[in-house]
Symmetry: C2
Amino acid sequence: MLGLMQNWPLLCHRIIDHAAIQHGCRPVISRSVEGPIHTTNYAEVRQRALKLAQRLERDGVQPGDRVATLAWNTWRHLEAWYGIIGIGAIYHTVNPRLFPEQISWIVNHAEDRVMMTDLTFLPLLEKLADKLPTVQRYIVLTDAKHMPQTTLKNAVPYEEYIAEADGDFQWKSFDENTACGMCYTSGTTGNPKGVLYSHRSNVLHAFMASLPDAKGIRACDVVMPVVPLFHANCWSLAFSTPMTGASMVMPGPKLDGPSVLELLEKYKVTFTAGVPTVWLMLLQELEKTGGKLPYLKRIVIGGSASPRAMTQTFQDKYGVEVIHAWGMTEMSPLGSLCTLKPEYQELSGDAKLDIQAKQGHPPFGVEMKITDDAGKKLPWDGKTFGRLKVRGPAVARRYFKDDTDILDEEGFFDTGDVATMDACGYMQITDRSKDVIKSGGEWISSIDLENLAVGHPKVAEAAVIGIRHPKWDERPLLVIVLKKDQQASKDDILGFMKDKIAKWWMPDDVAFVQEIPHTATGKIQKTVLREQFKDYRLPTAAA
Amino acid sequence: MLGLMQNWPLLCHRIIDHAAIQHGCRPVISRSVEGPIHTTNYAEVRQRALKLAQRLERDGVQPGDRVATLAWNTWRHLEAWYGIIGIGAIYHTVNPRLFPEQISWIVNHAEDRVMMTDLTFLPLLEKLADKLPTVQRYIVLTDAKHMPQTTLKNAVPYEEYIAEADGDFQWKSFDENTACGMCYTSGTTGNPKGVLYSHRSNVLHAFMASLPDAKGIRACDVVMPVVPLFHANCWSLAFSTPMTGASMVMPGPKLDGPSVLELLEKYKVTFTAGVPTVWLMLLQELEKTGGKLPYLKRIVIGGSASPRAMTQTFQDKYGVEVIHAWGMTEMSPLGSLCTLKPEYQELSGDAKLDIQAKQGHPPFGVEMKITDDAGKKLPWDGKTFGRLKVRGPAVARRYFKDDTDILDEEGFFDTGDVATMDACGYMQITDRSKDVIKSGGEWISSIDLENLAVGHPKVAEAAVIGIRHPKWDERPLLVIVLKKDQQASKDDILGFMKDKIAKWWMPDDVAFVQEIPHTATGKIQKTVLREQFKDYRLPTAAA
């Protein structure tokens, strides 16, 4: 027997409707790419998104078509998302920080029909355009006054484009499982993989992300998404902020310390979110200027692990609560947030930082398990680590254009991370599963060893990889870049690490190098490193 | 094109799974019907719910079967809900405060197969049992020690019943639109109507109810649902509390002032919800004992309008934030909550109370409109009032066993209430649409007139009904019950009201009566009143 409740599909454009009706006057403030600060509100964002939808439809954009955006966080980019999805087309955020050949690969794989771009990326696109045959039109997110000469096909300034529509238009209605958004993962191996969000998954994820123990955004908050719209679905902020009716402050192209600090102060931002690199720049600026953060209450730090000192500085020196978070493009992206459950409420000092070093607990709608290589579930004791697998309505089932699902027999997706779970349900990443060192059937965390090694005063950067070993299968090799003009021996380094880890975790050897290879997004390229050291023989291998 | 996200149906039993896994040790404390305080936790509640599910299935309870509960708020009642829905059966909460003939009508209409009951209601059921042919078994929510002799068919104590299952059982999985719960509205006219919630509607509603600007419950909260599980789906608390991982305190059968106060203090309750009548008893107890509410932070007041003095007393005297709320059984039930948007954040004193007198604003997932009788939308100016209509995934589409939908052409459900909407999206109920007086094409709020009249020091109760009028169609008649041993004339009363309302709102006459008729749940029975006065001729009718 079915229930007798209304059929009200979970469509993302209903979110901007809600914001326009219930929070219509709430400011949406942006640093424009052209320079000046621009102010609008949710009612206007919706009205202009309707114009875009109407205009795209007149241009022949069909349901299911991909419309790429290569753009910073501004009101126009926000309008673009809602305008695109409101006719059943798909926003496809492209990360401008990728290598040009990756960008063209992705655009071609997605078969994007329209490309919306900021002025910033015109030179890049003009060089690439020949390799992007599917793109029929370029919409430049600016007005006529700022529109430069360009060789791009059918290029038009956004403001002119939407001015050709009167906005007397209604969103389309359709199945909530309809594709809504697309984002490619920038893996360290193989080609990028496209994740295809649905309207349903984005709406449900926005609910999950908005819960009080997740982001907990209220209408009275002023939210600055420093994380770009092109980074992993913007951590849901383009949906959860209008859903809860908070104001938005969009930082545009300037994510340097002074620019971010200026917006935080001037617009009394209460909530922000971004990666550690950005916060490092902010903290340096604060240090330099003696600035304060009197309005900021909460900061979500994710993308990579928040350094303990960063968490501590934000909390103790600036009075800002840090919410460590973890997710993946495949998870829409939020998987866990490290807010404090009652068990941990009373902690302070180091004990509190120990908990906040964890990536947190999943909200309702994300299920987690850790398993060994054979898929056997491992205990939640805060020590045992295993492959982290996740399940939920906002987790990917399959990549775009693939023909098989990526789930185990229980329907879980393998995150590729290795993690512990503690008795209170807190997850902590200990490694990537392809980087963990498998020694005699036991796992050694490469990340733990790296974190330990960089604590040595002479070490600038460290990477640990597994080297084949006749007896133990794999043993750890520690690769070190020393700080400028510093010298150290293998024994110096290993002596420093001794007694801080289990004996069998100790690297079998240390290799000193000038440079460790990185991806475009700053991650250590362990595949390249493993290739470099593929013939390396450990001194212990002969034993 | 469809998205490529996981198929993860929104099933209510996933909520208790989440609570058991992520918040397993969190206390669930109840005042038992037998007397003593009982403590359990979410992990145990889930485990025992699994046993109940297993046992019900062995008893032949099928997906879609209705299992009635006639019970107070205790851990057993909570387990019962999850156990029932976990096999695809339907919890049907029966309100013990209804007249016995209404109860038997409802049970027969629902065709309940099993009845779970508290000890309290055994005498009632023993009298009714002959009239309940569909009920094949009575499960008494107690243990063997407290089980009395009873004539009820196949009666068994709950503890014995679930002890016959080992709990090695898995929840069923099915379409999220499967019926999950049932609650009849106790209308003032006609037969009760059954609302049939789905798993989807209950889960989505729990998300909506849990948003920070709605109930905003966190894992650190201690939540006491004073509102009974049998009252309008318990305002989602049986779902939203485990979803967010807060502790629960269940008041059992004792809702009097001293009992409620005892639990609030002893278990440091931070959040509670209930109807004004209960809070009146609590405030009287506090007044009498000089008690305080040091732990309680927020209180949701709904079911009927929160009196201004009550809101003020909780806030100013006891430091408890009042959240005025409105909903309907047909809405799962929450429609709006009166938390403060930025526009109203800085208000204090009377200006704040003026806003808090409103029923609040809908969360994402509830759409509202106000219309005239012809369905034309009316402006949101805080003054114009019209029929309040609602739409959303947790709003009823049709009543049980009816064969037509109850929606207008835009898919909205007519609440039967008359309301204003202000420019900030706040809704305020001004009347029931069947009670509003239609005078010369304009509407007069009977509730506004009643509220004004009871402000007269000699008036105990007031009711306003429309009386047919040859010129104006309808004109208001004010029906008054005077306080004991008081005397007043028509002119006294109307003189008091003069200048406080528009001239054309003034009642055409005042009728003094000994008693105003009420329903079982305490509402004024205006139908009966209209019947009593059906031949009444207004003094102005001849003019």
